[in-house]
Symmetry: C2
Subunit: 269 residues, 2 copies
DNA sequence: CTATCTGACTTGTCAGATAGGTGTTGGTGG
DNA sequence: CCACCAACACCTATCTGACAAGTCAGATAG
């Protein structure tokens, strides 16, 4: 039996691919509920444990979500779950605030300019909603969530999935600096109105103005961060968590809860 | 015992974090060999299976590598393993060649310009090595590997980890188009010399020239791809694999073997 | 001294059992 | 007839104990 299975050659990868084809991209399980692990394991002739590990992989990729007592649900893919893996991987690297501003500036200026050309009325409505949420937000983390949402939606408004992927890959790093910027009254006072400037420029289809406002928005930190400019992002974020939020949680824990249910759809148009 | 464990609250996440702190970032297991699963499981008071799932997660992030019969080794983190997760996640999205050129152009032009300012002699030597490998490469996949290596090294030469992350997140997509471009004599003939133009500009510390050459290099495809421009990247890549390589493997399988051992170190300077 | 073999490791996988959560269903009291 | 609630069936998560298969070092026979 073992030998047979080996001959057939079911590996975790092949099973994962098969399941993905069937349930994620295929049309089965329309309501999003997958068959139970027992049934699936029997169906594919593997043990439940083996199947479980495969499912764990899919879950880590954010493709499915499991609920004890309920079942396994297919999930709309979100960039952020994937991005978190990237974040863990690069924890060892020494990205500073200056690095992020440099890279993010270039990316988001492009996003702003393209969004001005391509944003639909629905995109704009969503961004307006995010800015309203930012105004109404109570507390640093909800603010950062709304801020991230705005920038993600702007990337989405380019209707270029690749730009969304790139922004997604640095989302957690952006979140780190947002904690710093949003808790700094000086930056917030100058930076928050620029969100509206950007959105207005997008509405007016004025790519250049959108790009300029975004540039100003992102480079604000360059003048205000002072010593923090060449600090590692994680250090900065961890300090804010400790001093401002007075929480003993690690930045990783904050991140995973703050970005958990957060999901900006991928452009399918 | 179960209740106790719950009270202590060992979840997969906390254990993963604990193990990461200890073995990846910590100084234990200097030779890279971790204690066996039995020992670790006993040490943390969890079952071996539970530990296994946690380790599977770390492995998926590319932080460790397991060898049956030998043990578990700590691995140097590589962007690409993480990037592959992103790629899977966005399979559903409909990124076209045009999307990639647009996004990648902006990013890589910035990389070229910054590399011209900051590349060390060692960076340049590595890039030269990659170009030599590209010239000597035999077959489409080794060529694509060398090509990817060159562009990754250019991103590394900016000494900005965030740019490396962003490039890493789209590496698999870039690989897709490389299969197409490298198998097209017209593009290859014009595109290959531009690699040397870029490298020369970097050597001369001429950021503008580097940026221009990169722009030309990437936008070459815009004139030659024709109908493929608005094709989905996966479709293009899959067709090349089938027609040119005459392989029945899926593009995912090609990718995972081609990028498996590939790793450009993260800048630690 | 060399070749081989044994035994003690390792990971990978399995079946079966239990814990704990969730939703449904059918019976009972109003 | 309706509302409530308890029992039940199903789900995932996890544990225990076991075995297969790979690896390696050291003992042993030639």
């Amino acid at each position: 039996m073992k030998a047979l299975q080996k001959r057939i050659g079911i590996t975790q990868d092949t099973l994962a691919q098969s399941l993905t084809e069937r349930f994620i991209f295929g049309e089965e399980a329309l309501d999003g509920l997958m068959p139970s692990t027992r049934i699936l394991a029997e169906e594919y002739g593997v043990s439940r444990l083996f199947l479980r590990e495969v499912l764990a992989g899919l879950q880590r990729q954010g493709l499915i979500e499991t609920f004890p007592g309920k079942g396994i649900y297919v999930r709309k893919p979100s960039m952020l779950n994937a991005a978190r893996n990237v974040h863990t991987t690069i924890r060892q690297s020494t990205a500073t605030a200056r690095d992020l501003i440099e890279a993010r500036g270039n990316l988001e200026e492009q996003c702003a300019a393209l969004a001005a050309e391509r944003a639909t009325t629905e995109d704009i409505a969503q961004m307006e909603f995010a800015l309203k949420a930012l105004d109404d937000a109570n507390g640093l983390i909800p603010m950062a969530q709304a801020d991230i949402a705005f920038h993600s939606l702007l990337a989405k408004s380019t209707h270029n999935p690749v730009l969304q992927i790139m922004f997604g890959s640095i989302t957690t790093l952006v979140f780190d600096t947002m904690l710093r910027s949003l808790s700094d009254p000086e930056i917030y006072k100058e930076g928050a109105p620029l969100h509206y400037t950007i959105l207005k420029a997008v509405k007016n289809r004025d790519g250049l103005a959108a790009r300029k406002a975004m540039s100003k928005h992102i480079h604000l930190a360059e003048d205000s961060y002072k010593n923090d400019l060449d600090c590692e992002l994680r250090e900065i974020a961890q300090r804010i968590v400790k001093d401002v939020l007075q929480s003993s949680l690690s930045i990783e824990e904050i991140l995973s809860s703050a970005l958990k249910d957060y999901s900006v759809d991928l452009g399918q148009s």
